[in-house]
Symmetry: C2
Subunit: 255 residues, 2 copies
């Protein structure tokens, strides 16, 4: 399936609606196939040489496309083995908890316990609907989860998901699943989280939240508002987390 057989880029390609370098076009085609589920999370994609043959370009061009996708964490390269679709169900914890920035002040990451306090179908509040690019009042699944470590509550998450994409998500399935939520989402619902935006604030704990987190009302909490996106910048999760940061902190690296 040639993308542009002509060697002089402008001659053939500038007539296209959008002119892009070959490797960007290849990249876009790869994302399209990922989105369509041609290769599933954890599976290998075809080798560079095969992709080069398939797209009628040189290996170097495929390479550059794959390099960028690997840099964006959509693909994972493993020398000698192949290139794999990134997954939240991976073995390595850094891949598994890629989006978890809350870490203990000292010592290593400790396994957390999840308990699900709610999981029900409801109508999207206006702000949530807007962030999910849904019409106001459209069906969403609302989940409330308490994360604890060593019995001490750490995070209270309120999560909204488009009901259309997560049909069949119940408390039972949530409770029985081991590992990160995003692993469940991609394995059971075919929705893979690629990117997220977070807005972070300090707030005073309201009464009900304070009770669930076992802190005094008015205690300072870290409020993390997240919107997660799947392929092609499609928003698929709104999450509001209240975190107790007495022994944990949010870690971030600036470049």
């Amino acid at each position: 399936m040639p993308v542009a057989t002509d060697r002089s880029p402008n001659a053939e390609r500038q007539r296209d609606a959008v002119f892009l370098p070959l490797y960007k076009q290849i990249k876009s085609l790869l994302v399209q196939r990922l989105q369509q589920g041609e290769w599933k999370p954890g599976e290998p994609i075809p080798s560079e040489l095969e992709l080069a043959a398939r797209f009628q370009v040189s290996q170097g061009t495929v390479r550059k496309a794959v390099d960028e996708l690997a840099a964006e964490n959509l693909l994972v390269r493993r020398q000698g083995k192949g290139t794999f679709v990134a997954t939240h169900q991976d073995q390595e914890p850094r891949a598994q908890y890629r989006f978890l920035r809350l870490v203990p002040d000292d010592g290593e990451a400790v396994p957390t316990q999840s308990s699900f306090l709610a999981c029900r179908r409801t109508r999207a509040p206006a702000d949530v609907a807007q962030q999910l690019a849904l019409r106001s009042g459209e069906a969403v699944i609302y989940v409330r989860r308490l994360l604890a470590v060593g019995g001490a509550p750490l995070v209270l998450d309120d999560i909204w998901l488009p009901a259309a994409l997560f049909r069949g998500l119940t408390s039972e399935r949530l409770a029985e699943y081991r590992g990160p939520l995003y692993g469940l989402f991609e394995a059971e619902f075919g929705t893979r989280m690629i990117r997220a935006d977070e807005r972070i604030r300090a707030v005073a704990a309201a009464g009900d939240v304070a009770a669930l987190l076992a802190v005094a009302p008015g205690s300072p909490l870290l409020l993390v508002d997240r919107v997660s996106y799947t392929y092609r910048e499609q928003p698929v999760e709104v999450r509001r987390g209240c975190c107790v940061t007495t022994h944990y902190h949010y870690h971030n690296e600036l470049f």
Copy 2:
């Protein structure tokens, strides 16, 4: 100045103390020259062809080294013009305020007013000394700065810098300088911030801090503990910021 004239990498290079791909070696040499100030912030580095000739490698190899340095924000490529040393004094605000993640909840970034409440030479507290890789009690410069927007206090920063690197930093120089602090640091003291680690918590405002930020004691504040590094992972700044997040939030993007 050849890095490895031999074409078979292992034959010659594996005898070296560390074996690295050619482009990593080039990259390291470039960082070394940046660190030594051979090319100053904002200035162009030699063209790819010239570097290739100088290091006795192909343009492609230089290119890969420069690509990585550009990805790490040490260099900035501009097509048709050249490759430049990144700077905090740049025109574009996104480059200028690269490390500022605090943004207004709505609307565009508004210019802030800095006032410097303290700037004095003192001994490093134990924790600061450790983070700066100094001996406990070694001389540091302590700066306290209040950031306000439209007259309303927004951030109170406490900053510690190794006195050895920032000799001559005074309240006067701070007050008369326009633009980001890191611009002053790189222009006047030759220390360029490359990377930073941040630890973020929610805390209750203590009395003195609350007064300076014009909030009630006990109000929730975002506490941002930052350690900044210059070339070669050398820590050169410890900063503790207390932020009022009623109309601003800390923005972060996860990949």
